[in-house]
Symmetry: C2
Subunit: 241 residues, 2 copies
DNA sequence: TCAATTATTTTTGTATACAAAATTGAAGCG
DNA sequence: CGCTTCAATTTTGTATACAAAAATAATTGA
Protein backbone atom coordinates (compact mmCIF):
# COMPACT_ATOMS: atom_id res chain seq x y z
CA UNK A 1 0.00 0.00 0.00
CA UNK A 2 1.69 3.15 -1.28
CA UNK A 3 -1.33 5.34 -0.64
CA UNK A 4 -0.74 8.42 1.47
CA UNK A 5 -4.20 8.48 3.01
CA UNK A 6 -4.85 5.41 5.11
CA UNK A 7 -8.24 4.16 6.24
CA UNK A 8 -7.26 4.60 9.87
CA UNK A 9 -6.64 8.21 9.00
CA UNK A 10 -10.14 8.78 7.69
CA UNK A 11 -11.64 6.91 10.60
CA UNK A 12 -10.28 9.65 12.81
CA UNK A 13 -9.27 7.64 15.83
CA UNK A 14 -9.49 10.38 18.42
CA UNK A 15 -7.28 9.37 21.34
CA UNK A 16 -7.13 12.80 22.85
CA UNK A 17 -4.36 14.98 21.61
CA UNK A 18 -1.63 13.44 23.72
CA UNK A 19 -1.90 9.96 22.25
CA UNK A 20 -1.15 7.98 25.36
CA UNK A 21 -3.87 7.56 28.04
CA UNK A 22 -1.33 7.99 30.84
CA UNK A 23 -0.18 11.31 29.41
CA UNK A 24 -3.80 12.29 29.12
CA UNK A 25 -4.33 11.48 32.80
CA UNK A 26 -1.39 13.61 33.88
CA UNK A 27 -2.62 16.42 31.67
CA UNK A 28 -6.11 16.22 33.15
CA UNK A 29 -4.75 16.27 36.65
CA UNK A 30 -2.67 19.40 36.11
CA UNK A 31 -5.50 20.98 34.15
CA UNK A 32 -7.99 20.34 36.96
CA UNK A 33 -5.63 21.69 39.59
CA UNK A 34 -5.20 24.94 37.71
CA UNK A 35 -8.87 25.37 36.95
CA UNK A 36 -10.03 24.70 40.51
CA UNK A 37 -7.69 27.41 41.84
CA UNK A 38 -5.33 25.03 43.64
CA UNK A 39 -2.47 26.43 41.58
CA UNK A 40 -2.93 30.21 41.46
CA UNK A 41 -2.15 32.24 38.32
CA UNK A 42 1.54 33.02 38.00
CA UNK A 43 2.73 29.84 39.72
CA UNK A 44 5.91 28.49 38.23
CA UNK A 45 5.67 24.93 36.93
CA UNK A 46 9.17 23.51 37.01
CA UNK A 47 9.65 20.56 34.72
CA UNK A 48 11.88 18.57 37.04
CA UNK A 49 9.38 18.91 39.88
CA UNK A 50 6.52 17.67 37.74
CA UNK A 51 8.69 14.77 36.59
CA UNK A 52 9.23 13.68 40.17
CA UNK A 53 5.56 14.05 41.06
CA UNK A 54 4.34 11.91 38.19
CA UNK A 55 7.36 9.66 37.82
CA UNK A 56 7.92 10.29 34.13
CA UNK A 57 10.68 11.80 32.02
CA UNK A 58 10.96 15.39 30.96
CA UNK A 59 9.92 14.72 27.37
CA UNK A 60 6.42 13.80 28.36
CA UNK A 61 5.97 16.62 30.87
CA UNK A 62 7.17 18.97 28.19
CA UNK A 63 4.53 17.78 25.74
CA UNK A 64 1.85 18.19 28.39
CA UNK A 65 2.97 21.70 29.28
CA UNK A 66 2.92 22.59 25.62
CA UNK A 67 -0.63 21.35 25.37
CA UNK A 68 -1.63 23.41 28.40
CA UNK A 69 -0.02 26.43 26.76
CA UNK A 70 -2.19 25.81 23.73
CA UNK A 71 -5.19 25.82 26.03
CA UNK A 72 -3.98 29.23 27.16
CA UNK A 73 -3.98 28.34 30.82
CA UNK A 74 -0.19 28.04 30.91
CA UNK A 75 2.31 30.54 29.53
CA UNK A 76 5.63 29.31 28.18
CA UNK A 77 8.40 31.88 28.47
CA UNK A 78 11.42 30.91 26.32
CA UNK A 79 14.36 29.76 28.40
CA UNK A 80 12.45 30.59 31.55
CA UNK A 81 9.87 27.90 31.83
CA UNK A 82 6.15 27.41 32.30
CA UNK A 83 3.82 29.46 34.48
CA UNK A 84 0.14 29.25 35.23
CA UNK A 85 -1.25 31.96 32.94
CA UNK A 86 -2.11 35.40 34.27
CA UNK A 87 -4.73 36.84 31.89
CA UNK A 88 -4.74 40.61 31.49
CA UNK A 89 -7.81 42.78 31.92
CA UNK A 90 -8.14 43.10 28.13
CA UNK A 91 -7.99 39.34 27.74
CA UNK A 92 -10.56 38.91 30.48
CA UNK A 93 -12.95 41.28 28.72
CA UNK A 94 -12.56 39.49 25.40
CA UNK A 95 -13.06 36.09 26.97
CA UNK A 96 -16.45 37.25 28.19
CA UNK A 97 -17.33 38.81 24.85
CA UNK A 98 -16.45 35.57 23.09
CA UNK A 99 -18.39 33.53 25.61
CA UNK A 100 -21.50 35.63 25.12
CA UNK A 101 -21.21 35.22 21.38
CA UNK A 102 -20.69 31.47 21.46
CA UNK A 103 -22.96 30.54 24.33
CA UNK A 104 -25.94 32.62 23.25
CA UNK A 105 -25.69 30.93 19.89
CA UNK A 106 -25.46 27.46 21.42
CA UNK A 107 -28.28 27.95 23.85
CA UNK A 108 -30.47 29.22 21.02
CA UNK A 109 -29.74 26.07 19.03
CA UNK A 110 -30.40 23.81 22.00
CA UNK A 111 -33.67 25.53 22.86
CA UNK A 112 -34.80 25.32 19.24
CA UNK A 113 -33.74 21.78 18.48
CA UNK A 114 -33.12 19.80 21.66
CA UNK A 115 -35.72 20.88 24.23
CA UNK A 116 -36.75 17.36 25.13
CA UNK A 117 -33.25 15.91 25.45
CA UNK A 118 -31.94 18.95 27.33
CA UNK A 119 -33.96 19.11 30.51
CA UNK A 120 -33.10 15.79 32.20
CA UNK A 121 -29.40 16.11 31.35
CA UNK A 122 -29.12 19.67 32.58
CA UNK A 123 -31.18 19.20 35.72
CA UNK A 124 -29.24 16.14 36.76
CA UNK A 125 -26.08 18.15 36.31
CA UNK A 126 -27.27 21.12 38.34
CA UNK A 127 -28.28 18.66 41.03
CA UNK A 128 -24.76 17.27 41.21
CA UNK A 129 -23.31 20.74 41.42
CA UNK A 130 -25.67 21.61 44.26
CA UNK A 131 -24.54 18.54 46.16
CA UNK A 132 -20.86 19.35 45.69
CA UNK A 133 -21.46 22.86 46.94
CA UNK A 134 -23.33 21.62 50.01
CA UNK A 135 -20.55 19.15 50.71
CA UNK A 136 -18.15 22.07 50.66
CA UNK A 137 -16.14 20.68 47.77
CA UNK A 138 -15.54 23.96 45.97
CA UNK A 139 -13.10 22.41 43.50
CA UNK A 140 -15.76 20.03 42.23
CA UNK A 141 -18.33 22.83 42.23
CA UNK A 142 -16.18 25.02 40.00
CA UNK A 143 -15.55 22.11 37.66
CA UNK A 144 -19.21 21.15 37.45
CA UNK A 145 -20.28 24.74 36.89
CA UNK A 146 -17.97 24.89 33.88
CA UNK A 147 -19.25 21.56 32.64
CA UNK A 148 -22.79 22.85 32.74
CA UNK A 149 -21.92 25.44 30.14
CA UNK A 150 -20.03 22.88 28.08
CA UNK A 151 -23.13 20.69 28.01
CA UNK A 152 -24.70 23.27 25.69
CA UNK A 153 -22.10 22.52 23.05
CA UNK A 154 -22.66 18.82 23.59
CA UNK A 155 -26.42 19.16 23.19
CA UNK A 156 -26.04 21.41 20.16
CA UNK A 157 -23.74 18.78 18.67
CA UNK A 158 -21.03 21.38 18.06
CA UNK A 159 -17.63 19.89 18.92
CA UNK A 160 -15.65 22.72 17.34
CA UNK A 161 -17.43 25.50 19.20
CA UNK A 162 -17.36 23.17 22.20
CA UNK A 163 -13.60 22.92 22.14
CA UNK A 164 -13.29 26.68 21.83
CA UNK A 165 -15.72 27.13 24.69
CA UNK A 166 -13.77 24.69 26.83
CA UNK A 167 -10.79 26.99 26.47
CA UNK A 168 -12.81 30.07 27.24
CA UNK A 169 -14.28 28.48 30.34
CA UNK A 170 -10.95 27.42 31.76
CA UNK A 171 -9.58 30.88 31.09
CA UNK A 172 -12.58 32.25 32.96
CA UNK A 173 -11.48 30.26 35.99
CA UNK A 174 -8.12 32.00 35.96
CA UNK A 175 -9.78 35.36 35.46
CA UNK A 176 -12.06 34.80 38.42
CA UNK A 177 -9.10 33.73 40.54
CA UNK A 178 -7.32 36.99 39.76
CA UNK A 179 -10.06 39.59 39.58
CA UNK A 180 -12.84 38.40 41.85
CA UNK A 181 -14.22 40.81 44.40
CA UNK A 182 -14.60 39.51 47.95
CA UNK A 183 -18.02 37.84 48.07
CA UNK A 184 -18.44 35.99 44.80
CA UNK A 185 -20.62 33.02 44.06
CA UNK A 186 -19.25 32.16 40.65
CA UNK A 187 -22.30 30.79 38.83
CA UNK A 188 -25.59 31.51 40.50
CA UNK A 189 -27.51 28.27 40.65
CA UNK A 190 -30.96 29.76 40.18
CA UNK A 191 -29.79 31.44 36.98
CA UNK A 192 -28.94 28.02 35.62
CA UNK A 193 -32.35 26.82 36.76
CA UNK A 194 -34.32 29.50 34.92
CA UNK A 195 -32.14 28.93 31.88
CA UNK A 196 -33.18 25.29 31.89
CA UNK A 197 -36.82 26.32 32.03
CA UNK A 198 -36.52 28.54 28.97
CA UNK A 199 -34.65 25.86 27.04
CA UNK A 200 -37.12 23.12 27.92
CA UNK A 201 -39.95 25.43 26.87
CA UNK A 202 -38.27 25.91 23.51
CA UNK A 203 -38.03 29.67 24.05
CA UNK A 204 -34.82 30.24 22.13
CA UNK A 205 -34.68 34.02 22.35
CA UNK A 206 -35.57 34.06 26.01
CA UNK A 207 -32.91 31.45 26.72
CA UNK A 208 -30.31 33.43 24.81
CA UNK A 209 -31.24 36.53 26.77
CA UNK A 210 -30.91 34.72 30.07
CA UNK A 211 -27.52 33.36 29.05
CA UNK A 212 -26.39 36.83 28.06
CA UNK A 213 -27.44 38.25 31.40
CA UNK A 214 -25.95 35.33 33.26
CA UNK A 215 -22.55 35.93 31.68
CA UNK A 216 -22.75 39.68 32.12
CA UNK A 217 -23.55 39.04 35.74
CA UNK A 218 -20.42 37.00 36.27
CA UNK A 219 -18.30 39.63 34.55
CA UNK A 220 -19.83 42.47 36.50
CA UNK A 221 -18.97 40.79 39.78
CA UNK A 222 -15.28 41.10 38.92
CA UNK A 223 -12.97 44.06 39.35
CA UNK A 224 -11.81 44.70 35.80
CA UNK A 225 -10.76 48.33 36.04
CA UNK A 226 -7.82 49.00 33.68
CA UNK A 227 -5.13 50.53 35.92
CA UNK A 228 -3.94 47.56 37.92
CA UNK A 229 -0.90 47.57 40.27
CA UNK A 230 1.70 47.64 37.49
CA UNK A 231 1.36 50.45 34.93
CA UNK A 232 2.66 53.08 37.39
CA UNK A 233 4.89 55.83 36.05
CA UNK A 234 7.86 55.68 38.42
CA UNK A 235 8.91 59.20 37.55
CA UNK A 236 5.61 60.81 38.48
CA UNK A 237 5.29 58.90 41.70
CA UNK A 238 8.81 59.68 42.87
CA UNK A 239 9.00 63.32 41.81
CA UNK A 240 6.51 64.23 44.54
CA UNK A 241 8.99 63.66 47.32
CA UNK B 1 13.52 36.95 44.62
CA UNK B 2 11.43 34.05 45.84
CA UNK B 3 8.23 35.32 44.22
CA UNK B 4 6.41 32.90 41.95
CA UNK B 5 5.07 35.55 39.58
CA UNK B 6 7.90 37.35 37.82
CA UNK B 7 7.67 40.67 36.06
CA UNK B 8 8.65 39.09 32.76
CA UNK B 9 5.66 36.85 33.23
CA UNK B 10 3.21 39.71 33.53
CA UNK B 11 4.80 41.53 30.64
CA UNK B 12 3.66 38.63 28.47
CA UNK B 13 6.60 38.36 26.13
CA UNK B 14 4.81 36.77 23.20
CA UNK B 15 7.41 34.99 21.12
CA UNK B 16 4.96 32.89 19.19
CA UNK B 17 4.14 29.59 20.79
CA UNK B 18 7.26 27.80 19.65
CA UNK B 19 9.70 30.03 21.47
CA UNK B 20 12.50 29.98 18.95
CA UNK B 21 12.22 32.12 15.77
CA UNK B 22 13.75 29.36 13.65
CA UNK B 23 11.15 26.87 14.85
CA UNK B 24 8.52 29.46 14.09
CA UNK B 25 9.85 29.81 10.54
CA UNK B 26 9.74 26.06 9.91
CA UNK B 27 6.25 25.96 11.35
CA UNK B 28 5.10 28.81 9.10
CA UNK B 29 6.58 27.13 6.06
CA UNK B 30 4.79 23.83 6.66
CA UNK B 31 1.63 25.68 7.60
CA UNK B 32 1.67 27.71 4.38
CA UNK B 33 2.31 24.65 2.26
CA UNK B 34 -0.68 22.86 3.70
CA UNK B 35 -3.00 25.84 3.46
CA UNK B 36 -2.11 26.66 -0.15
CA UNK B 37 -2.93 23.09 -1.22
CA UNK B 38 0.63 22.08 -2.03
CA UNK B 39 0.31 19.23 0.45
CA UNK B 40 -3.13 17.67 -0.06
CA UNK B 41 -5.24 16.40 2.85
CA UNK B 42 -4.19 12.94 3.96
CA UNK B 43 -0.54 13.36 3.07
CA UNK B 44 1.74 11.57 5.47
CA UNK B 45 4.31 13.81 7.16
CA UNK B 46 7.18 11.57 8.17
CA UNK B 47 9.34 13.02 10.90
CA UNK B 48 12.66 11.84 9.53
CA UNK B 49 11.89 13.36 6.13
CA UNK B 50 11.04 16.74 7.64
CA UNK B 51 14.23 16.57 9.70
CA UNK B 52 16.29 16.16 6.55
CA UNK B 53 14.45 18.95 4.73
CA UNK B 54 14.95 21.50 7.47
CA UNK B 55 18.20 20.17 8.90
CA UNK B 56 17.02 19.90 12.49
CA UNK B 57 16.56 17.10 14.99
CA UNK B 58 13.40 15.14 15.55
CA UNK B 59 12.59 16.86 18.84
CA UNK B 60 11.94 20.17 17.13
CA UNK B 61 9.97 18.72 14.22
CA UNK B 62 7.88 16.87 16.76
CA UNK B 63 7.03 20.06 18.62
CA UNK B 64 6.06 21.75 15.36
CA UNK B 65 3.86 18.85 14.28
CA UNK B 66 2.18 18.94 17.66
CA UNK B 67 1.47 22.63 17.18
CA UNK B 68 0.01 21.98 13.74
CA UNK B 69 -2.17 19.29 15.28
CA UNK B 70 -3.44 21.85 17.73
CA UNK B 71 -4.33 24.05 14.78
CA UNK B 72 -6.35 21.10 13.52
CA UNK B 73 -4.68 21.04 10.14
CA UNK B 74 -2.58 17.99 11.03
CA UNK B 75 -3.84 14.79 12.63
CA UNK B 76 -1.57 12.82 14.93
CA UNK B 77 -2.34 9.12 14.98
CA UNK B 78 -0.64 7.39 17.92
CA UNK B 79 2.27 5.20 16.84
CA UNK B 80 1.41 5.93 13.22
CA UNK B 81 2.54 9.46 12.69
CA UNK B 82 1.31 12.79 11.36
CA UNK B 83 -1.00 13.37 8.41
CA UNK B 84 -2.39 16.48 6.80
CA UNK B 85 -5.89 16.56 8.25
CA UNK B 86 -8.86 15.30 6.28
CA UNK B 87 -11.93 17.10 7.70
CA UNK B 88 -15.21 15.19 7.57
CA UNK B 89 -18.40 16.60 6.09
CA UNK B 90 -19.75 17.23 9.58
CA UNK B 91 -16.60 19.12 10.52
CA UNK B 92 -16.81 21.12 7.32
CA UNK B 93 -20.36 22.15 8.09
CA UNK B 94 -19.52 23.20 11.62
CA UNK B 95 -16.50 25.19 10.47
CA UNK B 96 -18.80 27.28 8.30
CA UNK B 97 -21.36 27.67 11.07
CA UNK B 98 -18.64 28.85 13.43
CA UNK B 99 -17.24 31.21 10.81
CA UNK B 100 -20.63 32.79 10.22
CA UNK B 101 -21.07 33.28 13.94
CA UNK B 102 -17.63 34.79 14.50
CA UNK B 103 -17.24 36.79 11.32
CA UNK B 104 -20.68 38.36 11.35
CA UNK B 105 -19.97 39.50 14.86
CA UNK B 106 -16.56 40.91 13.94
CA UNK B 107 -17.74 42.69 10.84
CA UNK B 108 -20.54 44.27 12.84
CA UNK B 109 -18.06 45.58 15.37
CA UNK B 110 -15.74 46.88 12.67
CA UNK B 111 -18.54 48.62 10.80
CA UNK B 112 -19.80 50.18 14.01
CA UNK B 113 -16.51 51.26 15.53
CA UNK B 114 -13.75 51.32 12.89
CA UNK B 115 -15.28 52.57 9.65
CA UNK B 116 -12.58 55.16 9.01
CA UNK B 117 -9.61 52.92 9.76
CA UNK B 118 -11.07 49.96 7.86
CA UNK B 119 -11.40 51.15 4.28
CA UNK B 120 -7.77 51.90 3.34
CA UNK B 121 -6.47 48.75 5.02
CA UNK B 122 -9.03 46.48 3.43
CA UNK B 123 -8.85 48.01 -0.03
CA UNK B 124 -5.08 47.84 -0.11
CA UNK B 125 -5.37 44.19 0.80
CA UNK B 126 -7.93 43.34 -1.85
CA UNK B 127 -5.69 45.09 -4.34
CA UNK B 128 -2.78 42.83 -3.44
CA UNK B 129 -4.96 39.76 -3.76
CA UNK B 130 -6.14 40.88 -7.18
CA UNK B 131 -2.54 41.26 -8.32
CA UNK B 132 -1.56 37.82 -7.06
CA UNK B 133 -4.50 36.30 -8.87
CA UNK B 134 -3.61 38.06 -12.12
CA UNK B 135 -0.01 36.93 -11.75
CA UNK B 136 -1.36 33.40 -11.52
CA UNK B 137 0.09 32.84 -8.06
CA UNK B 138 -2.82 30.90 -6.63
CA UNK B 139 -0.94 30.00 -3.46
CA UNK B 140 -0.53 33.67 -2.57
CA UNK B 141 -4.12 34.37 -3.60
CA UNK B 142 -5.48 31.74 -1.22
CA UNK B 143 -3.30 33.06 1.57
CA UNK B 144 -4.32 36.67 0.99
CA UNK B 145 -7.98 35.77 0.76
CA UNK B 146 -7.72 34.18 4.20
CA UNK B 147 -5.85 37.16 5.54
CA UNK B 148 -8.61 39.48 4.39
CA UNK B 149 -11.01 37.74 6.72
CA UNK B 150 -8.45 37.79 9.52
CA UNK B 151 -8.12 41.54 9.15
CA UNK B 152 -11.61 41.85 10.60
CA UNK B 153 -10.38 40.42 13.88
CA UNK B 154 -7.41 42.75 13.75
CA UNK B 155 -9.61 45.80 13.16
CA UNK B 156 -12.06 44.72 15.83
CA UNK B 157 -9.11 44.38 18.21
CA UNK B 158 -10.16 40.83 19.09
CA UNK B 159 -7.07 38.62 19.33
CA UNK B 160 -8.87 35.71 20.94
CA UNK B 161 -11.61 35.48 18.33
CA UNK B 162 -8.88 36.22 15.79
CA UNK B 163 -6.87 33.19 16.83
CA UNK B 164 -9.96 31.00 16.66
CA UNK B 165 -10.81 32.42 13.26
CA UNK B 166 -7.28 31.75 12.03
CA UNK B 167 -7.88 28.10 12.80
CA UNK B 168 -11.25 28.07 11.11
CA UNK B 169 -9.85 29.71 7.99
CA UNK B 170 -7.01 27.26 7.61
CA UNK B 171 -9.42 24.40 8.11
CA UNK B 172 -11.55 25.94 5.38
CA UNK B 173 -8.60 25.62 3.03
CA UNK B 174 -8.47 21.89 3.65
CA UNK B 175 -12.21 21.62 3.25
CA UNK B 176 -12.11 23.41 -0.09
CA UNK B 177 -9.27 21.16 -1.24
CA UNK B 178 -11.35 18.08 -0.51
CA UNK B 179 -14.90 19.04 -1.36
CA UNK B 180 -14.67 21.68 -4.07
CA UNK B 181 -16.74 21.23 -7.22
CA UNK B 182 -14.96 21.73 -10.53
CA UNK B 183 -15.18 25.46 -11.26
CA UNK B 184 -14.61 27.25 -7.95
CA UNK B 185 -13.37 30.75 -7.39
CA UNK B 186 -12.81 30.51 -3.67
CA UNK B 187 -13.55 34.03 -2.46
CA UNK B 188 -15.35 36.20 -4.97
CA UNK B 189 -13.49 39.48 -5.13
CA UNK B 190 -16.51 41.67 -5.72
CA UNK B 191 -18.15 40.26 -2.62
CA UNK B 192 -15.20 41.52 -0.63
CA UNK B 193 -15.55 44.86 -2.39
CA UNK B 194 -19.21 45.37 -1.49
CA UNK B 195 -18.43 44.27 2.04
CA UNK B 196 -15.87 47.04 2.29
CA UNK B 197 -18.45 49.55 1.12
CA UNK B 198 -20.93 48.58 3.80
CA UNK B 199 -18.25 48.67 6.49
CA UNK B 200 -16.92 52.05 5.42
CA UNK B 201 -20.48 53.40 5.41
CA UNK B 202 -20.92 52.19 8.98
CA UNK B 203 -23.83 49.96 8.00
CA UNK B 204 -23.24 47.24 10.55
CA UNK B 205 -26.29 45.11 9.87
CA UNK B 206 -25.86 45.32 6.12
CA UNK B 207 -22.19 44.35 6.46
CA UNK B 208 -23.09 41.39 8.66
CA UNK B 209 -25.65 40.28 6.12
CA UNK B 210 -23.14 40.48 3.29
CA UNK B 211 -20.63 38.49 5.28
CA UNK B 212 -23.25 35.86 6.03
CA UNK B 213 -24.13 35.53 2.36
CA UNK B 214 -20.50 35.53 1.37
CA UNK B 215 -19.76 32.58 3.63
CA UNK B 216 -22.90 30.74 2.65
CA UNK B 217 -21.87 31.23 -0.95
CA UNK B 218 -18.50 29.60 -0.39
CA UNK B 219 -20.12 26.68 1.41
CA UNK B 220 -22.77 26.21 -1.25
CA UNK B 221 -20.12 25.88 -3.94
CA UNK B 222 -18.84 22.75 -2.23
CA UNK B 223 -20.12 19.21 -2.48
CA UNK B 224 -20.98 18.39 1.12
CA UNK B 225 -23.49 15.62 0.66
CA UNK B 226 -23.27 13.15 3.54
CA UNK B 227 -22.79 9.75 1.87
CA UNK B 228 -19.22 9.97 0.70
CA UNK B 229 -17.23 6.95 -0.61
CA UNK B 230 -16.88 5.23 2.78
CA UNK B 231 -20.07 4.67 4.80
CA UNK B 232 -21.30 1.85 2.53
CA UNK B 233 -23.08 -1.11 4.09
CA UNK B 234 -21.11 -4.05 2.68
CA UNK B 235 -23.90 -6.50 3.40
CA UNK B 236 -26.56 -4.63 1.43
CA UNK B 237 -24.31 -4.03 -1.53
CA UNK B 238 -23.14 -7.63 -1.78
CA UNK B 239 -26.44 -9.40 -1.10
CA UNK B 240 -27.77 -8.28 -4.47
CA UNK B 241 -25.51 -10.68 -6.38
C1' DT C 1 27.95 49.27 52.74
C1' DC C 2 26.69 49.03 48.18
C1' DA C 3 27.05 48.33 43.33
C1' DA C 4 29.09 45.99 39.63
C1' DT C 5 31.38 41.87 37.96
C1' DT C 6 32.48 37.23 37.87
C1' DA C 7 31.87 32.39 39.13
C1' DT C 8 28.63 28.80 40.35
C1' DT C 9 24.47 26.51 40.20
C1' DT C 10 20.10 25.69 38.40
C1' DT C 11 16.89 25.16 34.65
C1' DT C 12 15.50 24.89 30.00
C1' DG C 13 16.42 23.49 24.81
C1' DT C 14 17.96 19.97 21.58
C1' DA C 15 20.01 15.88 19.70
C1' DT C 16 20.48 11.23 20.12
C1' DA C 17 20.26 6.43 21.66
C1' DC C 18 17.30 2.89 22.70
C1' DA C 19 12.58 0.63 23.32
C1' DA C 20 8.03 -0.27 21.50
C1' DA C 21 4.84 -0.42 18.00
C1' DA C 22 3.46 -0.78 13.24
C1' DT C 23 4.38 -1.74 8.53
C1' DT C 24 6.37 -4.49 5.06
C1' DG C 25 8.02 -8.70 2.93
C1' DA C 26 8.80 -13.61 2.86
C1' DA C 27 7.64 -18.20 3.79
C1' DG C 28 4.51 -21.81 4.83
C1' DC C 29 0.01 -24.02 4.56
C1' DG C 30 -4.44 -25.07 2.79
C1' DC D 1 -3.53 -18.90 -6.00
C1' DG D 2 -5.01 -16.79 -1.78
C1' DC D 3 -4.63 -16.59 3.15
C1' DT D 4 -2.23 -16.71 7.47
C1' DT D 5 2.02 -16.59 10.25
C1' DC D 6 6.37 -15.07 11.33
C1' DA D 7 10.70 -12.51 10.59
C1' DA D 8 12.93 -8.08 9.03
C1' DT D 9 12.54 -3.32 8.52
C1' DT D 10 10.84 1.01 9.26
C1' DT D 11 8.86 4.56 12.16
C1' DT D 12 7.27 6.50 16.28
C1' DG D 13 7.60 7.22 21.69
C1' DT D 14 10.53 8.16 25.65
C1' DA D 15 14.50 8.81 28.55
C1' DT D 16 18.73 10.76 28.94
C1' DA D 17 23.05 13.21 28.08
C1' DC D 18 24.90 17.37 26.81
C1' DA D 19 24.74 22.46 25.39
C1' DA D 20 22.89 27.03 26.15
C1' DA D 21 20.69 30.30 28.76
C1' DA D 22 19.09 32.27 33.08
C1' DA D 23 19.12 32.75 38.02
C1' DT D 24 21.78 32.81 42.08
C1' DA D 25 25.83 33.32 44.94
C1' DA D 26 30.37 35.04 45.74
C1' DT D 27 33.91 38.37 44.98
C1' DT D 28 35.95 42.61 44.26
C1' DG D 29 36.63 47.57 44.34
C1' DA D 30 35.11 51.80 45.32
Amino acid sequence: MNESLSKAQRALIHYGKLGDPENEAIYQQIFATIVDHSLPPGTKLKEETLCEIFGVGRTRIRKILFQLANDNIVTLVPNRGAYVAYPSVAEAREVFTARRLVECHLVRVVAAEQQERARPLLEEHVQRERQARQAGDMGAAIRLCGEFHLLMAELADSPILGEFLRELISRTSLIVAIYERPPVHNCEMDEHASLIEAIAAGQAEQAALLMEEHLRGIESRLDLRPPRSQEVDIRKVLSKA
